[in-house]
């Protein structure tokens, strides 16, 4: 047994209202630079829908993730090492920008500069790749809320088998949101596809990162990741991905997407797992067995043998305690209501999902029946085969049984808790029917419905004694795009070349410049331009406003 710790996340899809707050705050924190305009480390997809990038789930086309070769051994679906090196000059499976969307901005200047004219001036869309006018035809959430689904709704990869059965019955009955970040897989195919070995999994917390100094832009990881969660920065020529907000995690605070989530549906915690068993589990022959196999890789953090092995592996005591309190462990292994996304890709993803019961509840309520009655809900779960098959395609490689069990548990929880809330005697047969005790059901309810901040996010800091000095607002200027009003620079070899500037130093220079310079900022001088993030609203920073006209 080789115990390793993994920072993991569970999202409760029932609560997602599809507001995209997570995507926007994440973008603001991480990808508001040039070169990554189209990059959404966190995106929220409406399902059914094509996802982002379009139809990324079609692995027959993209060849992401792992597969079993003829001898039953795990192999990269996109081809082994030799094949990768021979196709390195042009990656045959790399998505084009059209599969994402062409990023754009608007010609806002025209609104204020246009001469007096009969028609209201408009801000025309301009491509951020070419600077030319463009026609906007797609974006990261173009099919939000099933928008345009009569046109392209059938392009959802998962509908291949189901679509012809009942064409778009689900459209009336069935829609939910799927927020996605990088899965920080236990067996990451992105790392395995990287020719220079720049993508690594952190030994301490399992976060998968791209070493920007070692990435050489071979762009094999982009096609290697089946979730298409590696993006290519087209300005710096390097791959970038979700970082699980590691600077925040290291000091014990949750990721930006979790922190800002309006539905409070995200849970972050540690999972202990047996690294020696990952490969075996990922090689499970039957795809339907992958969910169970991955659950078996996780270790019970309360088991004395596991604790001993973990201590031997150098996992600090406070981390083991955090693993014991981990909400993620509870949802995955105690209550068994969380499921992995696309386990059939065999990367052993570590962001899990509680599938949504609300479509089922909505149907029952619409028919006028009692939507919190266990009998009605169970019957509805039984009857709504299509949504359940669809969820099974997402979460269990098509096996409806685990999805069924999760939905039953969620339904049972509703009925059970109603009795308690109405002051009636709890009906112990309800939890028993789904294999839980009354106490377990109540605990599950607490975690899903009431859990406070420190119960939803159980994150041991990297080093408790350092946590305070590590805490700093580490954000880059949101206006730091080429030719924009930010202050990022271009080195002699193109965008952002040269040694990286520590964020704190940069802010320091900004402040000094602002306090000491007494002239209007030269708009050509990228170093001196105003950093809005540094402006606390007090005073008039030089260069933010045009000079006052003294005569007035």
């Amino acid at each position: 047994m080789r115990v390793m710790a993994q920072m993991a996340m569970v999202m409760n899809l029932d609560k997602c209202i599809g507001c995209h707050t997570c995507s926007v705050t994440c973008k603001q924190a991480w990808t508001n630079r040039s070169g990554v305009e189209y990059v959404w480390f966190n995106n929220v997809e409406t399902r059914p829908g094509q996802g982002y990038p379009r139809r990324y789930e079609d692995q027959e086309k993209w060849k992401g993730g792992w597969t079993l070769n003829r001898r039953g051994r795990l192999a990269l679906k996109g081809g082994g090492r030799i094949k990768k090196l021979f196709s390195i000059f042009s990656n045959p499976k790399m998505p084009a920008i059209a599969d994402y969307y062409e990023p754009w901005t608007y010609d806002y200047e025209n609104l204020t500069n246009a001469p007096l004219q009969e028609h209201t001036p408009v801000a025309r869309p301009k491509s951020l790749l070419t600077g030319e006018d463009m026609k906007i035809s797609w974006s990261a959430n173009w099919d939000d809320n099933l928008g345009g689904s009569p046109d392209h709704g059938d392009k959802d990869v998962l509908l291949k088998g189901i679509a012809d059965k009942v064409k778009f019955e689900f459209e009336q009955t069935f829609m939910f949101y799927l927020p996605r970040i990088c899965e920080h897989c236990l067996n990451p195919s992105c790392a395995a596809s990287c020719p220079s070995g720049a993508i690594y999994k952190r030994a301490e917390d399992g976060i998968v990162l791209v070493d920007q100094d070692r990435c050489r832009g071979w762009r094999m990881c982009v096609s290697g990741c089946p979730y298409k969660k590696i993006y290519f920065n087209h300005r710096t020529g390097k791959a970038e991905k979700c970082t699980f907000c590691f600077p925040r995690i290291e000091v014990g605070i949750p990721t930006v997407c979790s922190e800002t989530c309006v539905g409070r549906l995200r849970y972050i915690g540690l999972m202990l797992y047996d690294a020696d068993r990952v490969l075996d589990a990922a090689s499970t022959e039957d795809e339907h067995g992958l969910y169970e196999a991955q659950r078996d890789v996780f270790l019970d953090p309360s088991d004395p043998a596991v604790i001993a092995a973990a201590e031997q592996a150098g996992i600090p005591r406070d981390w083991i305690e955090a693993a014991q309190r981990s909400p993620v462990y509870a949802l995955i292994n105690r209550f068994k209501v969380a499921l992995p996304l696309h386990p059939e890709y065999r990367t052993m993803p570590m962001v899990w999902y509680i599938p949504p019961l609300s479509p089922v509840v909505d149907v029952v309520r619409d028919t006028g029946y009692d939507a919190e009655d266990k009998g009605n809900l169970f019957a509805a779960i039984e009857a709504l085969r299509i949504p359940i098959d669809y969820l099974a395609q997402l979460f269990t490689a098509g096996d409806p049984a685990p999805v069924d069990l999760v939905l039953r548990r969620l339904a049972a929880m509703r009925s059970y808790m109603r009795d308690i809330n109405l002051g009636r005697d709890p009906d112990e047969s309800i939890p028993a029917a789904v294999g839980l005790t009354g106490q377990e059901m109540y605990d599950m309810y607490r975690l899903l419905a009431l859990a406070k901040y420190d119960e939803r996010y159980v994150i041991p800091p990297a080093h408790a004694e350092q946590a305070h000095s590590l805490e700093e607002l580490a954000t880059e200027c949101s206006l730091d795009y080429d030719g924009g009003p930010g202050m990022g620079g271009s080195g002699p070899f193109g965008e952002q070349s040269g040694s990286p500037m520590p964020i704190a130093v940069e802010n320091f220079h900004m402040l000094v410049d602002r306090q000491t310079s007494d002239t209007m900022v030269d708009s050509g001088n990228k170093e001196l331009r105003v950093n809005l993030l540094n402006w606390d609203g007090k005073g008039r920073p030089e260069g933010l406003f045009p000079p006052r006209d003294e005569r007035r």
């Binding site: 990269l76 090492r81 090196l85 042009s90 070995g197 952190r202 290291e250 590590l470 070899f493």
Partner: protein, 240 residues
Amino acid sequence: MTGTLLFVVLPYVCLAIFVLGHVWRYRYDKFGWTTRSSQLYERRLLRIGSPMFHFGILLVALGHVGGLLIPESWTEAVGISEGAYHAVAFSLGTVAGICTLGGAAILIYRRRTVGPVFSATTVNDKIMYVLLIGVIVLGLGTTVLGNVTGHPHDYRLTVSPWFRSIFYFQPDRTLIEAAPIGFRLHVIAAWILFAFWPFSRLVHVFSAPLGYLTRPYIVYRSRDRQLGSRPVKPGWERVP
């Protein structure tokens, strides 16, 4: 005088820039060390042009290693006559050269005509392409012309020994001065290209990922010793 300048001083200066430039760039600008792939913008032309160019140029490079570093006396000793050597080198070299040039033509056409690729092309790229194409055209032109006119020059008696003499630190410019003008221009252009190399995207050649063949698929690494961007206060360093 000009002979010494062009065939003794220039090589050493360019070599020094080449070596020191790479060391400097690697230390100063690891972040800029990339292929700057433009595949995200356009893939149809790249799909044809890039492999054609790269397989061509790698073959050309291999040919140069053979032709420049292995003395004629060695190949002769193993029974390969100059005629046979030349025939093989010429045919393979021309195919590879045309492949390279054709691929490069597609790549350059793509750089000029595809909007996003055009916008992403830097001055640096343009200089690099001018030098690179210059060297290739001079080299290929000299070889093909020499053979068409029927008097192929045996560069392994002039250019190659001179090239090796540079590395023994006994440069002998008279050797290269005996070679036809085409060869002399080709090597001068090549030295200039080498001097520019470390400052261009061509640095990617030196990170050809051969290690991929042997390393384990999944790389594990420890967190950085220093967390955050502030130095650790004395006495609070992490214990290993």
